[in-house]
């Protein structure tokens, strides 16, 4: 096993990785930009290296600086997390050239699966069903128009290098196509440095279900079951769960999807952890979407249900160990659901809301897992993804997991930046959600009929009472000379004087 590993990421995933390293007695090296000097990951890691100014193009995406930091600190391997350089084949190659282990699949597999169009070709060859569309990047407006006519509207424009919904546009009619094409290409160019886009037939009200795969460098490859990630806003997942509620009515679906995923992975020479994404239509037909050649944001739900530590396995596999798990060793116990806590305003179209965390009190208790990258006083930078934390709950049944997650959300106090915590409580309370009737258009329909819950007069009275008495206390305090010592003992003495 490795002695020292560099974590080439930030935020909650950097914390997750540093924790895994600590548990395995591996020295961790965090990296940070100017804005992240005080981050939780830097403070929890054994060592930390500055890699540049705040913009990620000058820090977290700078291959040579990260490699230089790894060499300076003597790290034998680099874990890229998700996002940033995690699916960058050039980075994986550069690591190899420097004799540093890139914790992930071989660069060849990243390359063949990283382009969505190449991945679709691979899936076709492997016999895995795909959504009808262009097999390769669009050459321009003319091809887009003729293909869209052939497929029939609505269609979906997607970035070849894409992920996370960037560069993706739904197009309902031809008059919208040209503008959508321009926007998608521009967004793709900004996000991935590659403005190639392709076109797919839109599957109406699909479920998004993905298969976690895990393989070693000795030819062993298994799947760890599915995650359903149908609750999305702007094509980005916000709630993920395992098992998918669909499995209750289609008991053979997990194994069929698992085998389809493994076929694609084998064809690409895959190793380490990865995720094969599928769309599932109303009749439970599944279509290959793409492969994410990295650890997923939502990996905790799989960990909670299978009892496996995916990051530990990534590290073991990266160090050349054999995957000792066989497919028949994998079992799925109970149900786990995760909410992505974002600094964004669900009341205003999920606009990002950077700022300072004024107050934070995190939930805990039985069956609750929190992967967080924030703390009270932290300034959430506007330069990065607005993901603050992931809150997951496990229960013996889906219903128990939902109730536990709601309990944890109700305990979660996060003030100072707008966030989606109370919004999740509304979503979890929806009868459709409880019944497992999910699709990627769930949130659109939810917003169309949303009526905000009224907490009731008791809660209003409690809030008003607190504000009145706090204001009164401030008036009295302000009229006294400021102690300014910061000492709790002195402050409490001062408060005694006010009584």
């Amino acid at each position: 096993m490795f002695k020292k590993v560099l974590v080439a990421n930030r935020g909650e995933i950097a914390v997750r990785l540093v924790r895994a390293l600590r548990e395995l007695d591996i020295t961790s090296v965090a990296i940070y930009s100017d804005a992240d000097r005080g981050s939780l990951a830097v403070r929890l890691a054994d060592e930390a290296a500055h890699v540049g100014p705040t913009p990620s193009s000058q820090s977290y995406l700078r291959i040579e600086r990260i490699l230089e930091a790894a060499k300076r600190h003597g790290a034998e391997a680099i874990h890229p997390g998700y996002g940033f350089l995690s699916e960058n084949a050039r980075f994986a190659e550069a690591c190899r050239a420097e004799g540093i282990v890139f914790i992930g699949p071989p660069p060849e597999a990243i390359r063949s699966l990283g382009s969505k169009t190449a991945a679709r070709q691979l899936a076709i060859a492997a016999g895995t069903p795909i959504v009808p569309g262009t097999g390769s990047a669009l050459s321009g407006w003319e091809e887009a128009r003729s293909t869209a006519r052939k497929l029939g509207y609505p269609v979906l424009l997607k970035a070849s290098a894409g992920g996370g919904g960037k560069g993706m546009r739904r197009v309902d009619r031809e008059s919208e196509l040209q503008a959508a094409l321009r926007d998608a290409a521009s967004e793709a160019g900004r996000a991935f440095g590659d403005n190639e886009v392709y076109l797919e037939k839109l599957v109406e009200e699909p479920r998004h279900i993905e298969i976690q795969i895990l393989g070693d460098h000795h030819g062993n490859l298994i799947h760890l079951g599915e995650r359903e990630c149908s609750i999305q806003r702007r094509h980005q997942k916000v709630i993920e769960e395992c098992p998918s509620p669909l499995m209750a009515t289609h008991p053979d679906l997990r194994e069929r999807m698992g085998q389809a995923a493994l076929k694609v992975a084998r064809a690409a020479g895959y190793a380490n952890a990865g995720t094969v994404e599928f769309l599932v239509d109303r009749d439970a037909n599944f279509y290959f979407l793409e492969v994410n050649t990295r650890l997923q944001v939502e990996h905790p739900v799989t960990e909670l249900v299978t009892g496996l530590d995916l990051v530990e396995w990534q590290l073991r596999i990266g160090a050349g160990e054999r995957l000792t798990l066989r497919q028949q060793d994998i079992s799925w116990r109970g149900s786990a659901i995760e909410c992505r806590i974002y600094a964004e305003d669900p009341d205003h179209d999920f606009l990002p809301a950077p700022g300072k965390i004024a107050r934070l009190s995190e939930p805990s208790g039985p069956g609750v897992r929190l992967d967080s990258g924030i703390f009270e006083g932290w300034n959430v930078p506007l330069d990065y993804d607005p993901l603050l934390a992931k809150l997951a709950a496990w229960g013996p049944s889906r219903d128990a997991a939902i109730r536990r997650l709601d309990r944890a959300l109700a305990e979660y106090v996060l003030m100072g930046v707008r966030n989606n915590i109370t919004f999740f409580r509304e979503v979890l309370a929806q009868p459709e959600f409880r019944a497992g009737k999910l699709s990627t258009s769930f949130l659109d329909r939810f917003f169309a009929r949303r009526s905000k819950p009224e907490p009731g007069p008791d809660a209003e009275a409690a809030a008003a009472l607190a504000l009145v008495l706090a204001a009164k206390k401030n008036e009295t305090t302000d009229s006294l000379p400021r102690a300014g010592s910061g000492s709790r003992w002195l402050e409490s003495g001062r408060e005694d004087l006010l009584r």
Binding site: G355, V413, T422, R425, D458, E460, L467, V468
Partner: protein
Amino acid sequence: MKRQVTANGRSGQIEIAGSRVRYAREDGVEIESGYSMLQTGPTEFSILLDGRSYRVNAGEGGQVWVNGSLLTVEVFDPRDLRPGGHGSATQGRQQVTALMPGKVIRVLVAAGDPVEEGQGLIVVEAMKMQNEMKSPKSGRVAEVRARPDATVAAGEVLVVIE
């Protein structure tokens, strides 16, 4: 002690006397109970209303968190009440402000341009998300204050439409 209350857009009144509190809303809903309050943090309070427990966190801009729900609550002394509200937006000129802090990545109009309601004016990006600011009305661009690549704060005026 009496205070006017606005809670989630509804007005009411709170009256505190000794260890009792009465809260009456304009819609007729009313509660009265004994209370106990303890400050448990700089902005956090524990309140018991006849033994029912409420955890309250007071945030910025009237946002108050109570037992896992968010409310917009304001209290004010009726003696401080000023007649009339805030000045309403002028009919002729309307300011388009940034909804979020971010960076201006595209300016789509210039001063003097005629614009339609809903037409894109400026594209602001924050946290990898692009947000197109649209014209609130049809008219003419009176002023463009935003510059490409400039960092803007939430509420900052980007364009003025008349």
